[in-house]
């Protein structure tokens, strides 16, 4: 009895270890960790995929023997082309000794040409379907460049270029508010929604492209090239139609309620942009009303912030001065928003999500408007912007020392 049981147990043990298991087993040194993917369009209409593969020994290799020093670059890039994404990606395996592993791909760069000419819808199916690729991957558009160039550029502080891009986006979105830190899943939602269109941050690599790929470049304090966030790419029907910069992009993000902190410069008397209001938190809500089949949008902003800088001698202890300043802030923000909204209306693309607001407000009316929203209704829609600004503090001092001069 007992021997039978033991036999049974051991045969079970033997069969589980031989028959199954281990098939998805991958050792770390057999994996090529892909940190970023760049997608371009070639002259003959093929996709060109560029992948950035981390060279772990050169990123974290210091202090570990036999892994090479920092002589060689922290990443290697591989480029291949194909008529569809899978073909292009699988073909790369001819050049890489290890299995490509996409679970840690945190950045997707879309080439400008691809975005403008072919649109971005086609590339996402392959990525979303793949079980390794994450939908939290950040997306940027290469401005005035091919995606390949962004992928190939080395960066100095963050050794992995993909990380540099992601971290830059994250911090600038929070602190300055001209760029959006967009994930693939958010982008997909906006792509399929008729009531809104996506905006994607742009990245540029100004400078000599050839030098960007060499390790010598990052050995200077000011490299001859530097990856930097630039404007916002506005999309319509999946195609890039325009790129906006500066206050316009900030205004767009403000309507999208993506602003966390930023600075608002105010004119005071004759002094241009003499006082800075630092927004520390804000809330923007977009609502719609449909009357007589005419939609009306109202945007309400309530901002809270500090005085960050005064270049003019004003006495901030006086409540009426603060009151005046709050009025100026409200005016400034309102103008910013209105001009941004106007710009998008001119471009006839609803990146602001007004269509969704209308949908929420009156779904019956929306059904009729849906088809021609971007071209017909959106450019004409009446927008009412209300801003409420509040000065919470004036920094560490009330009276500027300039008053004592």
């Amino acid at each position: 009895m007992m021997i039978k049981g033991l036999l049974c147990f051991f045969s079970m043990l033997l069969s589980i270890s031989i028959l199954s298991g281990c098939w998805s087993n991958q050792e770390l040194p057999d994996l090529a960790l892909v940190s970023a993917i760049g997608i371009d369009l070639s002259e003959d209409g093929e996709f060109v995929n560029t992948i950035q593969v981390i060279n772990p020994g050169n990123v974290a290799g210091e202090g570990i023997q036999n892994t090479g020093g920092s002589e060689s670059p922290p990443v290697s890039t591989y480029t291949e082309h194909g008529y569809n994404m899978t073909e292009a990606q699988r073909r790369i395996s001819k050049k890489v000794s290890r299995e490509l592993y996409y679970a840690h791909t945190n950045l997707l760069v879309i080439g400008e040409k691809l975005a403008e000419e072919r649109g971005i819808q086609e590339i996402f199916d392959a990525l979303e379907r793949d079980n390794e690729f994450r939908t939290t991957t950040k997306v940027v558009v290469a401005q005035d460049a091919k995606a390949e160039e962004i992928i190939k550029t080395l960066t100095s502080i963050d050794k992995i270029p993909a990380n540099k891009v992601i971290k830059t986006l994250r911090s600038t979105e929070r602190i300055w508010g001209e760029n959006i830190n967009l994930e693939t899943r958010g982008l997909l939602q906006k792509l399929i929604s008729p009531g809104t269109s996506p905006v994607i941050s742009c990245f540029r690599a100004p400078g000599d492209e050839e030098k960007g790929e060499a390790i010598e470049g990052i050995q200077e304090t000011q490299p001859p090239f530097r990856l930097q966030a630039s404007g916002l790419a506005l999309f319509k029907d999946g195609k890039l139609i325009h790129t906006v910069n500066g206050d316009t992009s900030k205004g767009i993000l403000w309507v999208l309620d993506k602003i966390k902190e930023t600075g608002v410069s105010l004119d005071w008397k004759q002094n241009k942009e003499a006082i800075v209001y630092e927004v520390i938190r804000q809330k923007t809500s977009v609502s719609a009303q449909v009357k007589n089949n005419q939609p009306k949008i109202s945007v309400e902003v309530s901002a809270e912030g500090d005085i960050g800088e005064t270049a003019v001698p004003i006495d901030l202890r006086k409540p009426h001065v603060l009151k005046d300043l709050e009025g100026l802030v409200e005016k400034e923000i309102k103008e910013n928003l209105l001009s941004s909204i106007k710009k998008t209306q001119e471009l006839q693309t609803d990146v602001l999500g007004f269509g969704e607001a209308v949908h929420r407000a009156d779904s019956e009316a929306w059904k009729e408007m849906k088809e021609n929203w971007n071209d017909e209704y959106f450019p004409e829609v009446e927008v009412d912007v209300k801003v409420h600004a509040f000065i919470r503090r004036t920094g560490l001092r009330n009276k500027p020392f300039l008053m004592d001069f």
Binding site: G21, L28, I54, A60, I64, Q65, N66, A103
Partner: protein
Amino acid sequence: MSYRFRKFLKSKRKYTNAVQNAGPAEELYTSLDSNLSKIKQRTGNSSDIVIREMTTAQENKQIGVIFVEGIVDNRTIHDFLLESLMDDPAIETEGTERDVLETIAEKIVPLGEVTRVNNWKELYESLMSGLTIILVDGVMQGLSASTKGGERRSIQEPPTEISIRGPREGFTESLRTNTSLVRRRIKNPNLWVESLQLGEKTKTDVEIMYIEGIASEKNLNELRERLENINMDGILETGYIEELIEDQPSSPFPTIHFTERPDAVAGNLLEGRIAIFVDGTPFVLHVPSIFIQFFQSVDDYYSRAYIASSLRFMRIMVFLISLYAPATYVAATTFHQEMIPTQLLVVLSAQREAVPFPAVIEAFLMEITFEILREAGIRMPQAVGQTVSIVGALVIGQAAVQAGIVSPAMVIIVAITAIASFTTPSYSMAIAARLIRFGLMIVAASFGFYGLILSFIVIIAHLCSLRSFGIPYMAPLAPFIPADFGDSVIRLPRWGDKERPRLFTTKNEREGSGQKPTPPETRNIKKQQMKKGDLNDD
């Protein structure tokens, strides 16, 4: 059933018969000389058996005194036995046989325990357990006088169970000392001790101790029955008994807890458990035991409840680490790279770059090396223990990494596992984790987290199926007994934990109500009528 097994059973039966036939109650001889020569022959003229013959002054009665040197107290024998027997003139009696012994027992030998020996079996048992035998010529019976003694280890701090706060006493190898240590803590006539002898050859004294009225009768009967069933030639340590009376011998988990601290035994007795003392070992078993008990250290009961609870919780978490840390590492790095944060993965990957083995081989290599070191550390004479630790630290910590055989991350994992396994207060539980860990590593290497989750379920199911003297091992978690939670993963303050664990006892109340201390009413500070401006005079 195979032939071999049947043969084994047969031989066992034969053995049993032999043991039972060994000691028929043969009577002593009348003549002292023949008695003594029989003893000499039976003990093979062993040099530690002392036979002292003497003649009383008055009646010329021949008296033989027999004892085993070393396990008797020489002083007692000399002062109270030999001296009294030789000097005393009062042996002269009317001449009936019984009266001689009676006189000796009642009037001459001033010792606590003097009993009559009727046959050879009794004689040898008494003699070998340290009693002194007195034989008188012409009498077919003898006397045994309690003269147990001899060199024993003194009471020391228990080396395997150190506490920060609490008594420093530990049990010794002497059964009587051990029971006395407990009786000093529970001064109550309800503290009952039952004794029996186990081991056909060793005749080891075994005693069970419990508090009458608290310990449940069912458990007691069960224990008595299991102890009586023991039929072995020798019992040398509690481990022998543990293996013979546990509920589930094939489980790696211990179902009987042991301790060498008298305060721990006292605490367990108060909770309704039964302690088993074995002569010759400082360890005491107590039954029934539950899983959570193996994570309770005596310090928990002496430190404040919040601290005790958090430490106990930590110990259980750390136990899981000691079980699962290498397995999780292997599973994550070979199957689930997506679960590791990118930066960490890059670091791990860089470390693994130069390592020639798969992660699981690497883990096995390191774990086995560590087990070797640990075993060597225990078996080594203390004088060379230092060498082992230095060599071990160099081999594991430095050289293996520098040689590129293992990655630094693996060293960290093994080190954490090793340290974690030392936090479990019970050695027998920690050693079970050591064993299971290797199995889990194999599972992790073949099935990844899927296998680990399955193994976790299997372990939990196994634990829930265990019983200790019929008591569910995972109580009070499974079966779920909220009333017993006061002293489980957490320990409630004394005033909040009013009941004994329900499973062990018949009586649950253990303290009066309203034990929670409160600060006294404000004294000496009169409530003043505050006027405006009293506090802010400026």
